[in-house]
Symmetry: C2
């Protein structure tokens, strides 16, 4: 009998692993269990579906179950939920929601790609139909159906992180009155407060009502009740972050790590022999803080899945880790960050210098030049780059990649200043804004 | 008497040095000699002045002589040409074109920032008034005056490098019929031929007639005569590259290096005590080929000038070198390169692997996603990244900076694949195109 690989979870992490394994091992019997109705989709596209940038939910499917079956001979089973895992017997218990039956599948190798689930605080009314998460395409379908049927005009987005920002923009463009409710002092708490303030400015400029320091007490039809006051809302979107879906693994005795995510080594191996994990359910090594962290991003899931799959297929690949890079867009404003924030750097024991500068995305005299604010953080004394944050117009966000690459290389500020970056008036000022920031910070080392 | 610093050349390299020196040494007597009528200007903006993106020539002046005088107490003397240099006596002979007189100025320290001059092949008719270079703002004024007075409708651009491409676009947008005449087999010979072909496609798509392999025999009123055939032209723009203006230094006995450029060490010191050089007149160290090269770019001039000025001012700074990064835009197409091309890598003794991939500038389903082609070159065996080239829509060009940073770090392809780059649907596909190219090339190592 052929060796069997079972993949739990049909989204990015699991399916990237399955695809790589197939490319290297034609003989494997590969079964992928997905409890929802879709495989390998771009969940990051959901806000743009709501905003109308993307016309149909099908456009977000990177590869359909049919493609996995026909092109890669992966036996994808939708609406099949893994409900138990017996490592000793090497068996997965499965609930088949299509035929309403239970079954058991044996495996030789296993990839856990169970993802993460949105945090849903235990508050009165949280389970009402008008309170939506936006984690899966099924969630997106529910949300769109509800928004259309109810012709929602008052939308509250709870949580000011990436998803919250993107959903706020989406519903502004949909034509609703949008209130962004954030419990902390600032939106975008992965940025330093001074940079987050620029994001709040952008939100307000585009018509979003921003309520920070606002704790939610309850969800009631037509309103979100806060500790102080309330927000009118016939539709609520939750963007409170996610928690790893690691219950199945934990119950089976697999070791968990950072924030309850599945612990993995550099090759994406879990603590159990022949069991791998990839994506939002597992932890990542942070190259800057040198600690295990939980990062739920499609890029990371893709990279981890690829590494797991290459290793399962008999190759050798390692996941070097993350440096904490992320980017988003709020209407015309791009927001990006990498490395450690001030708070994260302090928590990791670094003493800091930092500089924040304003420049333009193109030569100042060139049409379409937009504003860009860049903040760079470095270690005092050594001058080692620790992180960067960018808020600005079109073309600002992806400049974070230079700092992400420099962080990976372990560069100092002087080494960033000495980079040979591309300049032409339509794409940059002669001193790239990232370099200007590094130059200013270097004066304080 | 105060120590005197003389700067020869009032453009980027020299004036960056003067400014940095002033910031660190309040006591210096600083005199800057500029033979033209402008200081510290963005020559790279000239094509956009012709195209109409930039309204006035004044917008290209980064800092005026008045600003240098009042804010930095630098005695800028326009229309003053350094015509001789006596290192033993530490004196510069100067022709003052304002008052039509000669004078001599003594110096303690000297910065040579004499720039480069456009190549003007010794061909019949080259000195006719309708044949223009575009190196200085004076050139730009001449060109614009001529184009307006003659209402030029037939323009020939000779040379298919950066300036040639940009001037071709400029005159297309001005409304002229433009022919780009290139002696080699391809335009953009700093790219590999397969990538250069994409640039030629873009030029043709925007109405430029491209004549490659076309050797110019003579310039005559109304036409450019080629070895085979001719091109109608009432105005000719030369974009044949530049050669360092190192004559003054060479005659004074200062050592010259790569392509006749002034030889400098890591701190921008020439072979003569107390004499520094910066910008297009001097050579640069190429970090990838580990050879001295001549690169005439405003970014490099700025960086070198800054380094010279810090050192003159008593600080310590080094210019780490270039990796060969450049970017330009032809209408809607961005073109960028870094590192070594196939030909350069072969000349430097490397055996190569390479991959060329097509992707999109944003998530494929996101509105405004443009095409992007990325080529990555690496050393066979070691997998060490050697270079990259990008041709694509808006947002494509600056992605080269990731490869430029990775080259500076000495990364292998695997290390590029493992980078934590920024992803969100409006700014990138989930696998950044640069990473996709590195991943494909890695399969061939």
């Amino acid at each position: 009998m052929a060796e069997r690989l079972i993949v739990i979870g049909g989204d990015v992490g699991g399916m990237a692993a399955a695809s790589q394994a197939r490319r290297r091992r034609n003989d494997l019997d590969i079964v992928a269990l997905e409890r929802g109705g879709w495989t390998s989709y771009a969940a990051c596209g959901i806000p743009y579906l709501v905003a109308g940038d993307v016309e149909s939910i099908d456009e977000l499917v990177v590869r359909s179950p049919q493609e996995f079956r026909s092109r890669l001979r992966i036996d994808v089973r939708l609406r099949h939920e893994a409900v138990g895992l017996d490592l000793a017997a090497r068996r997965v218990s499965v609930r088949d929601h299509v035929h309403e039956r239970d079954l058991t599948l044996g495996f030789d190798q296993l990839v856990i790609g169970t993802g993460a689930r949105p945090l849903r605080p235990d508050l009165p009314g949280i389970d009402n139909g008008f309170v939506h998460g936006v984690q899966t395409l099924d969630d997106a379908e529910d949300l769109l159906r509800h928004a259309r049927e109810a012709r929602s005009t008052e939308v509250a987005v709870v949580g000011g992180g990436y998803i919250g920002l993107e959903m706020a923009e989406a519903f502004v463009r949909w034509g609703a009155n949008v209130t962004l409710v954030e419990g902390g002092d600032n939106v975008m708490r992965t940025l330093d407060p001074d940079m987050a303030a620029l994001v709040e400015d952008a939100l307000r400029r585009h018509g979003v009502t921003v309520r920070t320091g606002a704790a939610v007490k309850a969800f009631e039809p037509g309103r979100v009740v806060l500790e102080q006051g309330e927000v009118a809302a016939d539709l609520v979107v939750l963007g409170l972050g996610v928690t790893p879906n690691s219950g199945l693994a934990g119950e089976a005795g697999i070791e968990l790590g950072a924030r309850g995510a599945i612990k993995v080594d550099r090759r994406q191996r879990t603590s159990a022999e022949g069991v791998w994990a990839a994506g939002d359910c597992c932890e990542s090594f942070h190259r800057v803080s040198q600690r295990a962290v939980h990062v739920a991003l499609g890029t990371v899931a893709n990279r981890q899945g690829r590494v797991a799959g290459i290793n399962i297929g008999g190759g050798y690949a390692v996941f070097g880790g993350v440096v904490g890079t992320a980017v988003t867009k709020v209407c015309d404003t791009e927001v990006a960050r990498t490395g450690l924030s001030e708070a994260e750097a302090a928590a990791a024991g670094f003493e800091l210098v930092s500089a924040r500068i304003e420049s333009s995305t193109r030569a100042g005299y060139f049409p379409g030049a937009g504003p860009i604010t860049v903040k760079v953080l470095a270690e005092k004394g050594s001058g080692r780059l620790l992180g960067g944050q960018i808020v600005g117009g079109q073309g600002a966000g992806k400049r974070i990649d230079v700092l992400a690459t420099a962080l990976t290389a372990g560069f100092t500020l002087d080494e960033v200043v000495d980079l040979d970056l591309a300049y032409a008036p339509p794409v940059s000022p002669v001193w790239d804004p990232v370099v200007i920031a590094a130059r200013e910070a270097a004066k304080l080392v």
